[in-house]
């Protein structure tokens, strides 16, 4: 018959089809990023002292029971999304009147000036010198050094804050998470989320106001950089935000 060969089926588009499938799988399967809340565990202490009396106004207790019901400061919360609003109220109520007594049940704010910080630093430095000369136990000296670092942090923070005094929430103001052993982890995580939301909002608004940078950007920059010297500025800014809005969490070990 004819001398022409039978034409082959054009398989050139097969590769395209396979590529399409490949891209589909690349897009739809997620290599999950690990997202988490980082918390620190208090150091173990051998000698348990009598607990310090904390004023009621400084405690924000968030409780959850075995039926996964929530209670914030003795009030039952049916909507867990409202907890962050309450936390905002906890920080914000007396924020605008630092150094004054306000008659309500939210924590008070105090102010610290540049001179006071300097005085404290000088005092601690002299104390350390005296202790080192007297050969005091090393943990005492380390403790004092830590105190010194804290004060120096405050000094740097105040410098970038641009004012001559720094407002501070009462040093005992804390948020407590009290769950029971059988409380579902989802509730525990929800409480953590709400706290994180509130703290984020407080710090973010302050960060936008001061430098017009979002708190998230600062945090990402700081976390992604291995060389900490390169992100000194961000670190100082984050320190300031942490001093203005400290997240003092107490996770109470459940008894029942």
């Amino acid at each position: 018959m004819s001398k022409r060969e039978v034409q082959e089926i054009n398989a050139g588009s097969m590769a395209d089809i396979a590529f399409l499938l490949l891209i589909f799988f690349l897009v739809t399967t997620t290599m999950d990023k690990d997202q988490a809340y980082i918390r620190s565990i208090p150091k173990k202490i051998e000698v348990v002292n009598k607990p310090v009396e904390v004023e009621k106004r400084n405690i924000l207790a968030i409780k959850a029971n075995t039926q996964n019901q929530l209670m914030v400061r003795g009030e039952i919360f049916s909507d867990p999304d409202k907890i962050s609003e309450f936390i905002l109220k906890f920080y914000r109520t007396n924020e605008k009147s630092p150094g004054q007594y306000v008659d309500n049940d939210m924590p008070l704010y105090s102010v610290i000036t540049v001179d006071q910080i300097q005085q404290n630093i000088d005092f601690i430095v002299s104390e350390i010198e005296a202790m080192e000369a007297a050969g005091s136990p090393s943990d005492m000296v380390t403790f004092k050094y830590n105190q010194l670092t804290e004060w120096e942090k405050k000094q740097r923070a105040l410098k970038i804050y641009g004012k001559n005094q720094l407002p501070e929430i009462h040093f005992q103001a804390n948020i407590r998470i009290e769950v029971m052993q059988a409380t579902a982890y989802s509730i525990f995580a929800k409480i953590q989320t709400e706290i994180e939301e509130a703290i984020y909002q407080l710090r973010d608004e302050e960060s936008m106001r001061l430098w017009n940078v979002s708190y998230g950007t600062l945090k990402r920059k700081e976390a992604n950089e291995n060389d900490k010297n390169k992100v000194k500025e961000e670190k100082d800014k984050l320190d300031l935000l942490e001093i203005l809005y400290p997240a003092r969490l107490i996770e109470v070990t459940p008894k029942i």
């Binding site: 398989a11 997620t30 690990d34 918390r39 620190s40 029971m180 409380t183 982890y185 989802s186």
Partner: protein, 170 residues
């Protein structure tokens, strides 16, 4: 020269691309296999609760400053009854009883210490700062979290992370 000229009239045969689809299919299968999310690997079922404003652990992972543990019901339902309340802890895919049964053996502490010793030399953080990330199931009782915390406190590993799923701005 004349030899080449003889064939001049015919066109060059095209490069045989018939194996290209095979190559691409191989790639496809590779990705299909490789990208199964790690969540499914542990021997316990873990479905994390949702959260927002979380910390991304990727930079810590790159610096190997994080260890993962999984808390959930065992995949094999027959084994669930062996554990307190049906929940088990998976450390490197080895199912352990929940911490209550471990106070004497201190498996978590030993595990964490071993992990810390096996870290690459470039990891310089002290054990207090090496994160232990607990990936717990939605329904897991929070009491276990506190048991884990207690075990970690004993060995001075003082940073813990509670894993959640962040669907928001990543």
């Amino acid at each position: 020269m004349s030899k080449f000229k003889k064939d001049g009239g015919r066109s060059m045969p095209g490069v045989n691309t018939s194996s290209l689809p095979d190559i691409v299919f191989m790639l496809l299968f590779f990705f299909m296999v490789a990208t199964t999310s790690k969540e499914n690997d542990p021997t316990v079922k873990v479905e994390s609760p949702e959260g927002s404003r979380t910390m991304d652990l990727t930079p810590f992972k790159q610096r190997s400053e994080v260890d993962f543990m999984y808390l959930g019901q065992p995949r094999n339902p027959a084994r669930a009854s062996q554990f307190k309340m049906g929940y088990a802890l998976s450390l490197d895919n080895v199912v352990q009883a929940t911490p209550d049964g471990l106070y004497n053996t201190n498996t978590i502490g030993q595990w964490k210490k071993d992990k810390f010793e096996q870290k690459p030399a470039r990891m310089t953080s002290p054990i207090e700062l090496v994160i232990t990330c607990v990936k717990a199931d939605k329904t897991a009782p929070s009491g276990f979290i506190f048991d884990i915390r207690k075990e970690l406190q004993e060995i001075n590993a003082l940073t813990i992370a509670y894993a959640v799923r962040d669907n928001g701005n990543i």
